[in-house]
């Protein structure tokens, strides 16, 4: 039993991280007042750009595979920012329906990345020669119980993202930027009257979501997937669910994505765990989605959703 748990933990955490950073991106966007259901597409974009950069660099530079990966992650992040500008422009400047614009983002990413990768590889998949290798944190991994669970077989990206989450929580709560961003998502007219440039804040919110979601897609690539296949299998949507489940708070999102991470891991490995063998796998696979639906119902009365998220901000409206 213990060994199974020891095996599952690192895997679940690995699975959590892409979800976590993507949902955190969604948080910045929605807190600024823009709903972003294009997270899925942004992840795909990150996965594609990351795979493209890394595979090219690794071929050209076979001795520095790890450096190539870091450069790939950075490139994906920048590409995500640029790609998300499409959504920001549509929803902030053109008053487009944010859900439709987000859908367009998903479709564009899904179509164009595969189109391009087919031009490059023919099959449409881009394979990495090397991904990140897991490592055990020195000393800490020797701590009983916690050591094997949390500090073994970890990735640098995991620690980086956890740091980003803590930093985000601080920025949102304790800095003028955070106060202004939240005001834009709650009541943009108030922010505007106080001299805050609502459009700019919303652009920033969407761009952060683009950066984070794209990074999420790239991390998925270099830790779990190992190749770009034109899809992230609904993880972007699952991140959106985690955002709601976590009630638009960084630490809430951390808890929600951990939950999803573990749920998915259980579903994937249920056949080799004696305790789970009797549960039909379909139940385990459905579990995250059904739980999200139930959570939506439970939170429906006391939702902490930013009030102006999804609303077009028209500064003429008084």
């Amino acid at each position: 039993m213990w060994t199974t748990i020891e095996q599952i933990f690192p895997y679940a955490i690995m699975f959590t991280i892409p979800l976590l950073i993507t949902a955190l991106g969604g948080l910045f966007s929605e807190r600024s007042g823009v709903v972003n259901i294009g997270l899925e597409g942004l992840m795909v974009m990150g996965s594609f750009i990351g795979a493209l950069t890394i595979s090219k660099l690794q071929t050209a530079w076979p001795t520095h595979t790890v450096v190539a990966i870091w450069i790939g992650l950075l490139t994906a992040l920048v590409a995500g920012v640029l790609f998300s500008l499409l959504h920001a422009f549509a929803s902030v400047h053109l008053s487009a329906n944010q859900v439709i614009s987000g859908t367009a983002i998903n479709m564009i990413a899904g179509a164009i990345t595969v189109f391009l990768s087919r031009n490059i590889t023919g099959s449409g998949n881009i394979r990495l020669t090397n991904g990140f290798q897991p490592f055990n944190v020195p000393w800490l991994s020797d701590i009983p119980i916690i050591g094997p669970l949390v500090f073994t077989k970890t990735y640098w990206t995991t620690w980086l993202i956890l740091l980003v989450v803590l930093l985000s929580a601080f920025v949102l709560k304790k800095t003028p930027f955070g106060l202004r961003l939240r005001a834009c998502g709650e009541y943009p007219q108030a922010a505007e009257a106080a001299g805050v440039n609502v459009r700019r804040m919303r652009y920033i919110g969407v761009m952060i979501s683009g950066a984070f979601a794209s990074l999420g897609g790239a991390i998925l690539l270099v830790t779990i997937a190992g190749e770009f296949t034109g899809t992230v299998a609904g993880l972007g949507f699952l991140s959106l669910a985690a955002l709601i489940f976590g009630q638009w708070r960084p630490l809430g999102i951390l808890a929600a994505t951990l939950f999803f991470g573990f749920a998915s891991t259980f579903a994937n490995v249920s056949q080799v765990i004696p305790a789970l063998q009797h549960i039909p796998p379909v139940i385990l696979q459905l579990f995250p989605y059904v739980v999200t639906l139930i959570a939506l119902v439970i939170f429906s009365k006391s939702s902490q959703a930013p009030k102006a998220a999804g609303e077009v901000f028209d500064s003429g409206k008084r």
């Binding site: 859900v99 595969v114 459905l286 989605y289 939506l296």
Partner: protein, 363 residues
């Protein structure tokens, strides 16, 4: 009129975007488009295939458009289509009876399956005010995994794990008449059902009290409530109809264009339905036309791919660009307004009237 111009502009931009993509990847756009359109229109067989490819899109497009009229964003057409198609397949594989009755049962099963799948988000919206976008997305994945396990468990093919057994011919919408008429195309009776659906939905939206109620709820649920319209019931009704339409799309796909159901994919027609509805300005006729246009892109891409080096995903890319421009129609709307008002202003300068004569006052 304005909607038509906007849609045509979106298509134009989509085609330009596609051309840029082709050129950027070292292909000849003109040749690409030539083969793309030839592939969908060259002869009666290919034209028939275009109509057939467009058929499921008519249903999912209608599904999204109908919900939209009630102010609901049904992003779950994919799941409803999958489950509706699954229900129809279950009937088709397990019931053995005369063909008309069997097909009728399959139609009903597809509609029911889709409706049930849409009922849950509708209920959650009406009862708990849960936003339908998130709940329909969740329902999509629930459908995906349900089918993923149900098909191998109950409808497994002999050798292949990832799809169901083939439906017998009498349990599909295949029509020898249509097929012969279009030179051996796989065009089938799904098209008839699609045309009927367009007419029925147009009638409901424009001529009935039900349509009046649903549109009132869509435009302004507060005034609908004020007028005594039961808003919650309208939301559920609308989702049921929307889901039934998507379910029919599943029938047209899995028992019309194809003859079995596959696992591990969410049908792309679900998302494409959003694009179809948007491009068709949520009107049934508009949906029909834009679905057939997308059908053309999808059915011609194979021929294009065979004749050139251009990957078939160019069709998806063009559609994706179209939906972005349709979504940002405000841009074109403003442009049109500016052109119109400039023209008016210059016309006015000639006659020399000042100020508004009647009608609009300052609100």
């Amino acid at each position: 009129m304005r909607n038509l111009i906007i849609s045509l502009c979106a298509v134009l931009f989509g085609l330009i975007g596609g051309a840029v993509l082709m050129a950027a990847t070292g292909h000849d756009p003109l040749q690409g488009y030539k083969y793309l359109f030839e592939g969908g229109l060259k002869n009666s067989s290919r034209f028939g295939d275009t109509l057939a490819t467009g058929t499921p899109l008519v249903f999912t497009g209608l599904s999204v458009a109908f919900a939209f009229r009630t102010g609901l964003f049904n992003i779950g057409a994919a799941g409803q289509m999958l489950f509706g198609g699954f229900c129809a397949t279950v009937i088709g594989l397990n019931v053995d009876t005369a063909r008309p009755l069997l097909l009728l049962m399959m139609i009903v099963a597809a509609m029911l399956g889709g409706a049930v799948w849409a009922f849950i988000p509708g209920l959650l919206k009406a009862r708990f005010n849960v936003h339908e976008v998130v709940s329909t997305i969740m329902m999509n994945w629930i459908a995906y995994w349900t089918i993923y396990y149900a098909v191998p468990a109950y409808l497994k093919a002999e050798s292949v794990e990832t799809e169901s057994r083939l439906l017998p011919d009498k349990a599909t919408l295949k029509s020898a008449f249509l097929s012969d008429l279009f030179g051996g195309s796989y065009l089938n009776m799904g098209l008839y059902i699609a045309v009927i659906a367009v007419i029925v939905i147009a009638f409901i939206i424009n001529k009935t009290t039900l349509g009046y109620e649903l549109k009132a709820v869509g435009y302004n649920r507060h005034s609908a409530e004020y007028a005594g319209i039961r808003v919650n019931r309208s939301i559920i009704t609308s989702m049921l109809i929307s889901g039934a339409l998507a379910g029919l799309g599943g029938l047209a796909q899995f028992a019309g264009n194809g003859a079995n159901i596959q696992i591990g994919v969410l049908p792309t027609q679900g998302y494409d339905g959003i694009a179809v509805a948007l491009l068709g300005a949520n009107s049934p006729i508009g949906v029909l036309i834009s679905a057939l246009f997308f059908g053309l892109l999808y059915s011609g891409r194979g021929f294009m791919n065979a004749m050139t080096e251009i990957p078939p995903e160019i069709a998806d890319s063009i559609i994706a660009i179209i939906i972005y421009f349709a979504a940002t129609s405000v841009l074109m709307d403003r442009l049109i307004t500016r052109i119109v008002s400039r023209r008016r202003a210059s016309a006015k300068a000639g006659t020399g009237t000042g100020g508004p004569v009647s009608g609009k006052e300052k609100a």
